[in-house]
Amino acid sequence: MTILHVEDDPAHAHLVRKNLKRSEYPGNVINFEDGRQIIDFLNKKESGEYYPFVILLDLNLPGIDGFEVLKTVKDDKDTMRIPVIVLSTNGEKSEVDSCYEKGANFYVRKPFDYSEFSAAVRKIAALFELIESPSYSS
């Protein structure tokens, strides 16, 4: 029931955590500050016990950026089934299209409101039938 959150801006990371907490999301949230960290994490065998049900991914990251992370996750047969919600301040059509082409499941533009963000998380949870909690099953 782990959510992997890749975000280099601590304020944004904090906001997401607060929203998840307000939604009474019961699982873990692991935060990564750059692309290299999450790729290294997914490559480790022990990450199996923290196998995420969704990755929340910022695009503008130092080092390996969000696009590269997305491509790496979706090109790897071991991680390609992990849903990815892209969180970005840009919102331009070319960027949205590019994310969906690379396999993103949702694109949420920042600043997002609580309902938009939690709807995306709920839909993914329902899709994968991973969460039985009433707040995530509608």
Binding site: A11, E33, P62
Partner: protein, 550 residues
């Protein structure tokens, strides 16, 4: 008796040859073969030739002037002894004995005012045509008209020159001349030679039939001899009279015209050279301007790309704190509401919790505002640097590196870093810009050293291909090869964000160097360290002056 007669004739010749005889020669106006000039002197080809022969034969020549018709009759009657320039016809052979050697071969030619009107004999239909009275050519021309059934009015003239004059005055439509005379006179009258020519005949010397045979024999002897020598008197005479417009006769206006043409040609040539020089200079100048424009255009393209990059990056980087502002503003509203509810309900625990949340919200809002401020200041700083002029001065680079290192003395000692500054030359550049470059590069080297590993920073210098090349080498964390191009972009930070910085230092270095005609680049290996190089032109004066022209 017959023998006596022959003897008498021979005797007569010998007597006259020795004692000199007077020979009457008929002269009519048939220039240039035979004519009388304005001073009454007999001239022409035949006259020259007769004078030549007479001198050698001991003859006295008496020229008897008249019209052609008069000359013809005088010869026929025996009044004149000889006639020069007389055409040979079957009828005349009944009256005259001719020389064997001809003076010239002649033929008839029709002259008109405008050749556009007369191309063939048929075009003479209905015209008034001047024709020489009793002339050989005139007779043949009349026959020709009859043969072709052309009806024309013939106006008889006493001389060929009169025929030409009538034509010139347009009192007739055409004039019939022998070609020799026509060619001689056609330049003096407003006439043109038509394509119609006819009736070739030999122009010879003649005496009355059966008389003065010695004259004919002497003429034949001399002419035959003269014709054998290419440069003889005969040919010189022909050349003199048949080419009546030698260079010596060129009119004054022709010399003036030629001189004028030469002057015009020289002026044209000079003008041409002048303009070629002007065009060449202009082309060179345009070529220089063009290469400058290309340079500026390339610079503008680069600036445009950078500006787009800056706008994109700034818009993103400004958006990021704005997202925080927006998000925490929302949180703040919720927490204030919770705080008020808790206060109303007297729920101290929830009140304190809401209060802590509000403090946190305020912290993030404050951070976001500060971040936006920093961004705006950075953009302003870069923009100011781009706009500022440079003041090249002499810089002792060793002293400059040492001064910058001195200002970092505390951090260097604290981190236990070993710093080597090697010998460096003086350069000519803007002091503030280069100071900023050096301090940024040293600061970066110091900032990105590896934890737990003794740091080592070394500066270097070499001259390569007309440039000063300086370097700052460290044994720090290094940069991934994929990230090397990104580090010079504004607000771009690669690797972990565990060091303070707003991501403009290297962009600032790049801009400052560009202002001074230099550039910056980096070689690095992740985990092993980096070398930052920067260049400055060897001849900074030249570049400064070049830039000043624009």
């Amino acid at each position: 008796m017959k023998r006596i007669a022959v003897f008498a004739v021979l005797f007569s010749i010998i007597i006259t040859g020795v004692n000199g005889v007077t020979i009457k020669v008929g002269v009519y106006n048939n220039k240039p073969q035979l004519f009388v000039d304005d001073d009454g002197r007999v001239k022409g080809i035949a006259a020259d030739l007769l004078n030549y022969i007479a001198e050698r034969e001991g003859w006295e020549l008496e020229y008897v002037q008249g019209s052609w018709a008069q000359c013809y009759e005088r010869l026929k009657s025996g009044e004149n002894d000889m006639q020069a320039v007389i055409g040979v016809t079957g009828e005349r052979l009944n009256y005259f004995d001719y020389s064997s050697n001809r003076l010239l071969l002649a033929w008839g030619a029709v002259y008109v005012n405008d050749t556009g009107d007369v191309k063939t004999i048929f075009d003479l239909e209905g015209k008034r045509i001047a024709n020489l009275k009793k002339g050989l050519i005139a007779g043949r021309f009349v026959k020709l008209l009859a043969e072709y059934g052309v009806q024309a009015e013939i106006v008889m003239t006493d001389s060929l020159i009169e025929a030409l004059r009538l034509l010139d005055e347009k009192k007739v439509d055409a004039a019939v001349l022998n070609r020799v005379m026509g060619e001689y006179y056609e330049h003096e009258f407003n006439v043109e030679r038509s394509p119609i020519i006819f009736g070739a005949f030999e122009s010879k010397f003649a005496v009355r039939k059966g008389t003065n045979a010695f004259i004919i024999k002497a003429i034949d002897r001399h002419v035959e001899k003269l014709k054998k020598e290419k440069d003889s008197f005969y040919y010189r005479t022909l050349n003199k009279w048949l080419h009546p417009h030698p260079l010596s006769d060129v009119p004054d206006w022709a010399y003036f015209a030629a001189a004028l043409i030469v002057v015009i040609a020289l002026i044209s040539s000079g003008t041409s050279l002048y303009w070629r020089k002007i065009i060449f200079d202009q082309t060179q100048s345009m070529s220089r301007q063009n290469s400058k424009l290309k340079k500026y255009s390339s610079e503008l393209r680069r600036i445009n790309i950078e500006l787009k990059d800056v706008l994109r990056i700034v818009s993103h980087d400004v958006k990021s704190p704005l997202v925080s502002l927006s998000g925490f503003n929302g949180e703040l509203k919720l927490h204030i509401s919770a705080l008020l509810s808790a206060a109303e309900a007297g729920d101290k625990e929830k009140y304190l919790e809401a209060k802590a949340d509000i403090t946190e919200d305020m912290f993030f809002i404050d951070s976001a505002v500060k971040k936006i401020n920093r961004l705006i200041s950075s953009v302003h700083k870069i923009s100011k640097l781009e706009r500022s002029g440079i003041e090249p001065v002499d810089i002792d680079m060793f002293k400059l590196f040492s001064k910058c290192a001195e200002s970092m003395r505390y951090q260097i000692l604290q981190s236990g870093t070993e710093l080597h500054i090697n010998p460096m030359p003086h350069v000519r550049a803007d002091y503030k810009s280069i100071e900023l470059v050096v301090s940024n590069l040293l600061d970066n080297a110091l900032k990105y050293l590896k934890d737990g590993v003794p740091g080592r920073i070394e500066t270097g210098y070499e001259e390569v291909k007309g440039e000063h090349i300086f370097s700052v080498r460290d044994n720090g964390v290094g940069i991934r090869s994929n990230d090397i191009d990104k580090i010079f972009k504004i607000f771009k930070r690669v690797g972990a964000h565990d060091k303070p910085g707003d991501g403009i230092g290297l962009n600032y270095v790049q801009t400052a160097l560009r202002q001074n005609g230099g550039r910056v680049w980096c070689e690095s290996s992740l985990g092993e360290g980096s070398v930052f190089y920067f260049s400055l032109p060897l001849n900074a004066y030249a570049r400064s002056e070049e830039g000043g022209e624009g």
